[in-house]
């Protein structure tokens, strides 16, 4: 178990190094950073001086080493457009995106799993058919369209929920949270549903197909033959056996939720990283793009690591045999 964890950690570090290399080459090959930073009337001498000061004349490997050393301390330089440290900019936006992603994921799991179990157990009931039809919508409609649809119904027509922004936020240290105020929670509902709907339908269909498989197995038949309670058979014995694939997919999807919150954030003018990233693309603000890339890669790698460790919690067959026999 420990050896496994260490091995996975080393792999994670390797992945991060590769991503760092890609981020780093952004600086080198997407435009000239000096051009981005200085005005039109700067003389070639001044440019050369700046180049020297920024260390751009050093060997590539030295520059890459410096980039990594700084990245490890969350120093990604200064944004070209905002003239502020990138880490600070992202740090201010990160809580909004993480809260949105987290709530979406929780929504997707809490709704998707029970729906999946239900449709797996009652294949032919009309409610199952309804759920499956709804899930088709969730899978086939593009996110921005669902967002606009929700805004139209709940914000414009019914006027129940706000259509943009985060509402009131409370500052907890450097973390700003919208979860502690009523308006913050209200503002979170529509974007969270928009972002989580696809994942929810995915999880529901996954749990359903796994359930269909598991309830045909011998150990479920044997559990029935022992007269165990139906609820225990469905939610303890069967559901736990569907969890390994569900954890895999949910983990991967959580990464995508965070990375692809961009569209939802745009639709709802959500002040998160996605919005920041879009602005940085428009303005070729490479430090932000590079830092965003690193951050998303870091989140993916972390989530994958957690997923791998969760397998061990769920499935005892993966645990290292104890020496007892």
């Amino acid at each position: 178990m420990l050896a496994f964890t260490i091995r996975r950690l080393l792999q994670a570090i390797l992945v991060m190094l590769v991503v760092a290399l890609i981020s780093f080459t952004l600086f080198r090959f997407v435009g000239d950073p000096v051009n981005q930073m200085v005005g039109v009337e700067t003389t070639p001498e001044q440019r050369e001086a700046l180049r020297e000061r920024l260390g751009l004349n050093d060997p590539i490997l030295v520059q890459f080493g410096r980039f990594i050393a700084k990245a490890a301390q969350f120093d990604f330089g200064t944004s070209y457009q905002f003239r502020q440290p990138v880490a600070e900019l992202i740090g201010r936006r990160l809580p909004a995106t993480l809260e949105l992603s987290f709530v979406s994921a929780v929504f997707a799991l809490l709704v998707g799993i029970p729906m999946g179990v239900y449709t797996g157990l009652h294949r032919d009931s009309w409610l199952s058919k309804l759920f499956l039809s709804i899930s088709l919508i969730g899978i086939s409609l593009p996110t921005f369209f669902i967002g606009i649809l929700l805004i139209f119904v709940f914000a414009v027509t019914l006027q129940w929920l706000p259509s943009f922004g985060r509402g009131d936020v409370v500052q907890l240290g450097w973390w700003s949270t919208g979860l502690l105020t009523w308006s913050g929670i209200k503002a979170l509902i529509l974007p969270a549903i928009t972002l989580g709907l696809f994942q929810m339908t995915l999880i529901m269909r996954l749990v359903r197909s796994e359930m269909l498989e598991v309830i045909r197995t011998d150990y479920i038949k044997f559990a029935r033959a022992r007269g165990l309670r139906q609820r225990s058979i469905n939610f303890r014995h069967a559901l736990k056996n569907t969890l390994v694939p569900v954890i895999t997919i949910t983990g991967l999807q959580l990464g995508s939720i965070i990375a692809f919150a961009i569209i939802t954030e745009t639709v709802f003018q959500w002040p998160g990283m996605g919005l920041l990233f879009l602005q940085s693309v428009q303005n070729v603000d490479i430090p932000i793009m590079a830092a965003y890339l690193m951050l998303i890669a870091f989140l993916f790698v972390t989530i994958n690591l957690i997923v791998d460790l969760l397998y061990f919690r769920v499935d005892p067959r993966l645990r290292v045999e104890r020496a007892a026999h």
Binding site: D218, Y219, F222, A225, G227, N241, D315, R317
Partner: protein, 328 residues
């Protein structure tokens, strides 16, 4: 008051509706099982042995269903119980052991979890009592260091050990009847007889009756009190093991006995019954065995025989009427 047999099956018919009409998997079988008795049920694959067992415990896979007939446990009908009542009866009064111990246990729960949950579902005991009982049971079925093994997972046991655990699970709420569906088929030959002997001993100690489904005549000869030979969804012959083995009456049983290799010297070729059992959708008219039977008469091709007494046993064969001179 008349004492009821433990299990009484009367004219049981099990059908599987298909697009081209219902297939009859079990076609009117009747048998009784007394308390503590071991009834062997033999036959080729597809003869309906397992379906009979699953029908008794109420676990027929839909769309399969009991079309007619009745099943009684100590005189009470159980074939038409509501699902909740049937659920309470399973495990508590009728237990079942399946063929493959490797897949019968839930891989994600410890042996202890599975036994304790089963005990606590059926008996009004505390978790501590259930645990003690689980340890006692595991010891009884021959699991060494049972107390520690409670926290082991199924994959940490060998096939034979797992089948012992399965037997403990089937017996943990003291059922009156255990249906053992080919309990040794999936096991290594070297442990088969151990498991059969264990099942026999434990059930004798607890006074549990056993319906032992198998295609192994040797197992039946060794364990069963009575045997029912099934063919094409019907009972071909039923009677005390000794009689059926020593002097089988039905040509099919005679054929089966001829197919058992003997250890005592004679090196004749084993007899083989020509042909194979008919599919459910093409069961011949008259006696289902008639196309493979060497003694077929005209009547066999038209009329289906019911069980006719032959000594202490009964066999479904028209020949019996002939030989006894009682023919109409």
């Amino acid at each position: 008051m008349m004492r009821h047999p433990l299990l009484s099956v009367k004219d049981l018919r099990v059908e599987f509706p298909t697009r081209r009409g219902a297939l009859t998997a079990i076609d009117g079988i009747s048998f009784d099982l007394r308390e503590g008795e071991v009834l062997g049920v033999v036959g080729e694959s597809g003869a309906g042995k397992s379906i009979t067992g699953t029908a008794v415990i109420g676990l027929l896979e839909p769309p399969g269903r009991i079309a007619s007939g009745e099943i009684r446990l100590k005189g009470e009908r159980i074939d038409n119980l509501p699902p909740a009542a049937m659920r309470k009866l399973r495990g508590k009064r009728i237990g079942m052991v399946f063929q493959d111990p490797l897949t019968s246990l839930n891989p994600l729960f410890t042996i202890g979890d599975q036994i304790i949950e089963t005990i606590m579902t059926h008996l009004p005991v505390s978790e501590r009592e259930a645990r003690d009982r689980a340890v006692a049971l595991l010891e009884e079925v021959g699991i060494p260091a049972a107390g520690q093994r409670l926290s082991a997972y199924p994959h940490q046991f060998s096939g034979g050990m797992r089948q012992r655990v399965v037997i403990a699970l089937a017996l943990c709420a003291e059922p009156e009847l255990v249906i053992a569906d080919e309990p040794t088929t999936a096991l290594d030959v070297s442990v088969q007889s151990q498991i059969i002997r264990l099942l026999q001993r434990v059930c004798r100690d607890h006074g549990t009756a056993v319906m032992l489904i198998t295609h192994d005549m040797g197992v039946i000869a060794e364990t069963a009190d009575r045997v029912a030979v099934m063919y094409s969804g019907r009972i071909a012959e039923i009677g005390p093991v000794r009689d059926v083995i020593k002097s089988p009456s039905h040509p099919y049983t005679i054929g089966l006995m001829g197919a058992i290799p003997s250890l005592t010297g004679d090196h004749d070729r084993l007899t083989q019954i020509p042909g194979s059992m008919p599919r459910l959708d093409s069961i011949p008219r008259g006696c289902a065995f008639n196309p493979r039977c060497s003694l077929t008469m005209d009547r066999c091709r038209v009329e289906r025989p019911d069980l006719i007494p032959a000594g202490d046993s009964h066999a479904a064969c028209w020949k019996l009427l002939e030989t006894e001179g009682a023919g109409r």
